[in-house]
Symmetry: C2
DNA sequence: CGCCCTACGATTGTCTAACAAGTACACACG
DNA sequence: CGTGTGTACTTGTTAGACAATCGTAGGGCG
């Protein structure tokens, strides 16, 4: 029994479950019974039901009619869908930022944080990496686009929680490509930035797919040239 | 008392309310009390509550804690946010379609339906217009992008329900621009298509803003040249 | 011995009833 | 006239209950 209470009991429970899913405590396909959730948080069943339905709406949990809610199991095809959606959104974001030569401070800061990482823990790069990409999207100043991207980020984090030993890409490479992206934006080269982003996300996508048991596409390979 | 029952009572009620909002039967800021909804559909209050919360999650209704849910009131700034979001999404969609020279059949059909419209009712153009744009997005084959665009379409329809006498743009102009967009896609000219779309949506956006009492931006003006 | 059908347990969908808590508005008081 | 209080309305949450449905295990039949 965990006593939580912030603004709304439902919201608090949903938050807690969300955190437990992201941390990997609740693995994919783990069943979440309404009664079970209700008793573990010491609330009534309708309250637990509301929290579960909120998470289902977010896409973190899945459930059919009359069936127990389960932690979403994102297969390789979902990973591709998510990363392609990211690419679609961010490509256009980069073009717009480039046309106004807007380089968000927060993005620079996030990438510096990646550069400062010397720890071997590969999981530590996820947070500043997400912050880098999110800050670019947020720089557009469009509420709805930011919200959409946020939901994608949630699903990406869900994917990440599945692959524990992710040593997919070298931190140095990530940081270098981010840097290059910012330079292209500053130079007003939107097309080039969009293309580099496609490679950047495509590589991460196919490597992630490969570690999840899917078949990696050709984008998984490192680029032959990486002119900084 | 309206008896409805399809797959789920909650879903059925939510659908009905959604339709009533879109039709304009429920105007902006109209209050929807849980008890009121419950009695009018002859269901229990928790059921009505669930339906209302579903619509709140969709953005059709808004409500604060302990306050009655109301039909969302989209002001000029929201309209700009929505239409800019559309432009961000669709610009990139056009580029991708152009790079593979993919012209969706459904888009062609939808635009033909617009051309066939000779009725004076300006509201009839909304449905095929939405279908045109939606079919372009769906042609990408990305579940998440399609879902995001769907929620934007819902908000656009909500805006439309507010302006009854919308005679914002000439049907012929809309149809001609759509035609030009398809031609640019077929020619692989993604940049040009994206730019034309920006003008197309920008004009609709600022005219809509103007009719809602906001101050129209310069995009409201007709283009000086429209080479078909 | 294997397959299909049935029956049971578990779980969700929905309802009734009720109390607590918060908001908003009106009225009275200073 | 401004402020404070109180009351009515609404929402948040709980409890218990029943029907509908799904999954599974077991028994009957070929």
């Amino acid at each position: 029994m965990s006593r939580v209470s912030a603004v709304s009991i439902v919201e608090a429970i949903a938050s807690d479950i969300r955190a437990r899913v992201f941390s990997g405590e609740l693995p994919a396909l783990h069943a979440l019974t309404e009664t079970e959730v209700a008793s573990s948080y010491d609330v009534a069943r309708p309250t637990a039901k509301a929290a579960i339905e909120k998470l289902v709406a977010e896409g973190l949990l899945v459930r059919g009619v009359h069936k127990t809610a389960r932690v979403a199991d994102l297969g390789p095809e979902s990973v591709r869908d998510i990363y392609l959606a990211r690419a679609y959104l961010e490509s256009e974001v980069l073009r717009r930022l480039a046309s106004s030569r807007t380089v968000p401070d927060e993005a620079v800061r996030a990438n510096n944080d990646i550069a400062a990482l010397k720890t071997g823990a590969p999981l530590d790069v996820v947070e500043p990496d997400m912050r880098f990409h999110t800050s670019l999207v947020d720089a557009l100043g469009n509420q709805r686009i930011s919200k959409m991207y946020l939901s994608l980020v949630g699903e990406v984090r869900l994917c990440m929680s599945r692959v524990q030993s992710l040593h997919l890409l070298d931190t140095t490479l990530i940081q270098a490509e981010h840097q290059k992206l910012l330079e292209l934006i500053a130079a007003g080269k939107g097309d080039a930035a969009a293309q580099l982003l496609d490679e950047h996300l495509g590589r991460a996508r196919e490597r992630l797919v490969a570690t999840m048991g899917g078949e990696a596409g050709p984008e998984a390979e490192l680029p032959s040239k990486l002119t900084g």
